[in-house]
């Protein structure tokens, strides 16, 4: 390798390739993860200048302390019913995930993705939005649908691609779409929803509407160019949008260092764009609620967008196609310093005297039973692999509003193939 003689006294350049702290088999010690005490983070006015968010972009907004008490200026002071509803929704998300993960393992569907450990970032955030605010999720915010009362059976029908699937079996499992519940069609292409959410918010503002939008992506996909475009548009037009970055530490097998986390926080990205940035304990449902409520008020009063980094941990594999034991230590989740969002909210409610372990156990049982029963109902509509559940013609419908000649021709070809094959599909 040639070395410039003039610089022979300097060490050669070296390329830094990030490496996570722990690999399979390693003893995990998260003591260097900075966890500031709950309640110590300032809560600025929702009209505060974006230039004043430096501290909030580098700390963690936390409400629930180590003993489960809600403390500090970010305490949203929710009534017990609201807290119990949030707890129930988070528990339902987890029960649903457990059941559907197992359904995939049983071969009833091709694919599933859990959000274990991240239930607060969708459930608590959605609880702080109005029902008609528009959500542009990634694939790991099933809690939005559950919080908004979307029927579980519709989710399952989609996962099974069965004859009840409103998306007609066109989409990979969990790529839900629920317009009536303010839930934008999920795409497999990462972060494309970010500029779309900004555009929706801009449209709402341009029309003098009062609705806002919220969008979610993982920390890994903040590296996509769409993230930059979205933040640029959001700040330029002061779009009424909440930009959520769910930093769960892992993008499949890549730790957050490959998205830039070694050098800074994801909330700090907001600073350079002139956007208000909050970094929040993503396993603290009250902090997530409070931050979202704050950002929603900021957006709704024409003060512009907010970027919220939810600092959390992806407790399970990336998907049913992933085996995390191949790239990270199995101890990470149990060692995670911010704990489990469900347990933390449960402990808080128990501390308030508004809940107890028996009720929790009874609720867990009730939810598991409800999910199981719904699953049975969904399976009456069919499961993947047990024949083809959609009318074959639906494959060609919806490419365009009206079917052009070449698709009609191809549809006829397919129907002829069906005839030749002895009609394996549903009657047409």
């Amino acid at each position: 390798m040639p070395v410039d003689a003039k610089r022979a006294n300097l060490p050669p350049l070296s390329l830094h390739v990030p490496e996570p702290q722990f690999r399979p088999g390693d003893e995990v010690d998260f003591s260097d993860v900075a966890v500031p005490p709950a309640g110590e983070q300032p809560r600025p006015d929702t009209a505060a200048d974006p230039g004043t968010f430096h501290e909030l972009a580098y700390t963690l907004v936390r409400v629930l302390d180590e003993d489960g008490n809600a403390v500090g200026p970010w305490n949203p002071r929710l009534d017990a019913d609201t807290l119990r509803t949030m707890l129930r929704n988070m528990a339902l998300v987890r029960a649903f995930d457990e059941r559907m993960f197992r359904a995939q393992r049983q071969g009833k569907t091709s694919f599933y993705m859990k959000c274990t450990g991240e239930e607060a970032v969708s459930v608590a955030a959605t609880s702080a939005l109005a029902a008609d605010d528009m959500c542009f999720p990634s694939y790991r915010q099933q809690g939005i649908l559950i919080t908004r009362g979307y029927p579980l059976i519709e989710m399952m029908n989609q996962i099974y691609s069965n004859k009840g699937d409103k998306l007609q079996g066109k989409q990979l499992p969990i790529m839900y779409s629920a317009r009536d519940h303010g839930f934008f069609s999920i795409s497999g292409n990462l972060t494309t929803q970010f500029p779309q959410a900004v555009g929706w918010a801009m449209a709402s503002a341009a029309k003098g509407d009062t609705r806002i939008s919220a969008t979610w992506c993982g920390e890994g996909s903040t590296a996509e160019g769409d993230f930059h475009s979205a933040l640029t548009f959001a700040t330029v037009y002061k779009a009424p949008v909440i930009l959520n970055v769910v930093n769960n530490q892992w993008a499949i097998s890549s730790f957050s260092g490959f998205a830039g986390a070694e050098a800074t926080t994801f909330a700090a990205r907001a600073i350079g764009y002139g956007i208000a940035g909050l970094r929040v304990d993503g396993n603290d449902p009250l902090a997530v609620y409070a931050a979202t409520q704050w950002a929603a008020e900021r957006a709704r009063t024409n003060q512009g967008p907010t970027l919220i980094e939810h600092f959390t941990y992806r407790a399970e594999g990336h998907s049913t196609s992933d085996d995390p034991s191949a790239y990270r230590s199995a101890q990470e989740w149990s060692s995670w310093p911010l704990g489990d969002p469900i347990k933390r909210l449960k402990d808080h409610l128990i501390g308030l005297g508004e809940w107890d372990e028996d009720r929790q156990a009874a609720q867990d049982q009730e939810l598991a039973e409800m999910v199981r029963k719904t699953q049975k109902d969904a399976e009456k509509n069919g499961i993947l692999g047990h024949g083809m559940h959609q009318k074959f013609e639906t494959m060609f419908e919806g490419v365009y509003e009206e079917m052009p000649w070449h698709l009609k021709e191809q549809m006829q070809q397919m129907l002829d193939e069906d005839d030749a094959a002895g009609h394996p599909g549903p009657k047409r």
Partner: protein, 334 residues
């Protein structure tokens, strides 16, 4: 009107008729566009309906998709077709698929306007014809006008259409038809019937080609600037060619094409875009499949060469009158 004025008029008409129509893109607002296509629109309709954007093509299209999901009818401009690539993911993975993947819950009624094509010494990044990339994407429509009259009528149809449309504007003929003789004096639209453009609302249906010259000897399928280059060459050679301006590439007007080729028995395809896997290959395939027993000669493709668009050698690259004449002589010899 010239083509710029016709396009401007189409947006003006549609913005006046439908408050959901919004125009956005780099330099389209106050300045009125680098080609003046949006001149005066911001002053007339306000900044929330006609606005300048940051220089981010993926952002422009992504934001437009979100606006469409809200219920608006965005008309985003990409300043040059050569710069549409950063937006490909949003166009291919999102706009084109949104209706399908949501089973109709969400649609993307966008009209993406973009100047395209060469003949203006635009070099590598102001001359490309990337239509073949978009006709390959199910869910997108691709429209290319060849006259001011068509440009306005087609653009109005595109804006009213509920599917995402790529509307490529042949910038070589913004100001006048182009004969292909690059050293001849420039012409303007005032003496061309296609330059007569009504000021009000009218539409030209998508998916309908125009037979711009009736003939018996050979069918020439073309679009955009090449419609005029072909017409000039046909006139000079005296060959009785039937010229079809496709106008909409996707969905294609197959009936008009088949009727003509079955009549003439010969088919030639002319486009500026590079040859390999260009749109001409699809045209050639559908004609071959459907007119095989009517064909008296192999289908000819006259196209740009398979190189990046050169600057100094533009007129050696451009599929001009000589290349078209030689191909015509060849196809008629058999």
């Amino acid at each position: 009107m010239n083509m710029i004025q016709a396009i401007n008029s189409a947006m003006d008409v549609m913005m006046d008729r439908d408050p959901a129509v919004v125009v956005m893109g780099e330099d389209v607002g106050y300045f009125g566009g680098v080609f003046r296509a949006t001149a005066g629109l911001q002053e007339k309709y306000g900044k929330t309906r006609v606005f300048d954007t940051p220089i981010t093509e993926c952002g422009i299209i992504g934001v437009a998709i979100g606006m469409g999901a809200y219920g608006l009818r965005p008309v985003p401009e990409i300043q040059f077709a050569d710069y549409i690539y950063p937006a490909l993911d949003q166009l291919v993975s999102e706009a084109a698929r949104l209706r399908y993947r949501s089973a109709g819950e969400f649609i993307a009624p966008l009209t993406v306007r973009s100047p395209f094509g060469g003949g203006i010494f635009g070099g590598q990044t102001h001359s490309q014809s990337p239509e073949g990339i978009f006709t390959h994407v199910s869910g997108l429509k691709t429209v290319i006008p060849a006259t001011p009259y068509d440009a306005k009528g087609l653009l109005i149809s595109c804006i009213e259409d509920n599917d995402p449309v790529i509307f490529f504007e042949p910038k070589r003929i913004y100001n006048g038809p182009f004969s292909g003789h690059y050293d001849a004096p420039a012409r303007n639209w005032s003496n061309h019937p296609g330059g007569e453009v009504p000021t009000g609302y009218y539409r030209i249906p998508l998916g309908k080609a125009a037979v711009t010259r009736q003939g018996a000897a050979v069918t020439i399928l073309t679009y955009g600037t090449m419609v005029h280059v072909v017409a000039q060459t046909v006139e000079e050679t005296g060959i009785d060619a039937e010229i079809i301006d496709l106008r909409t590439l996707m969905p294609l007007d197959i009936d008009t094409i088949l009727e003509s080729v079955k009549k003439t028995g010969r088919c030639m395809i002319v486009h500026e875009a590079t040859r390999t896997q260009g749109f001409g290959a699809e045209l050639s395939a559908v004609v071959q499949e459907r007119c095989f027993y009517h064909l008296e000669a192999p289908i000819e493709r006259v196209t740009g060469f398979d190189t990046p668009y050169p600057h100094s050698l533009e007129w050696a690259y451009f599929p001009g009158p000589v290349r078209i004449r030689l191909a015509l002589e060849k196809i008629l010899k058999d």
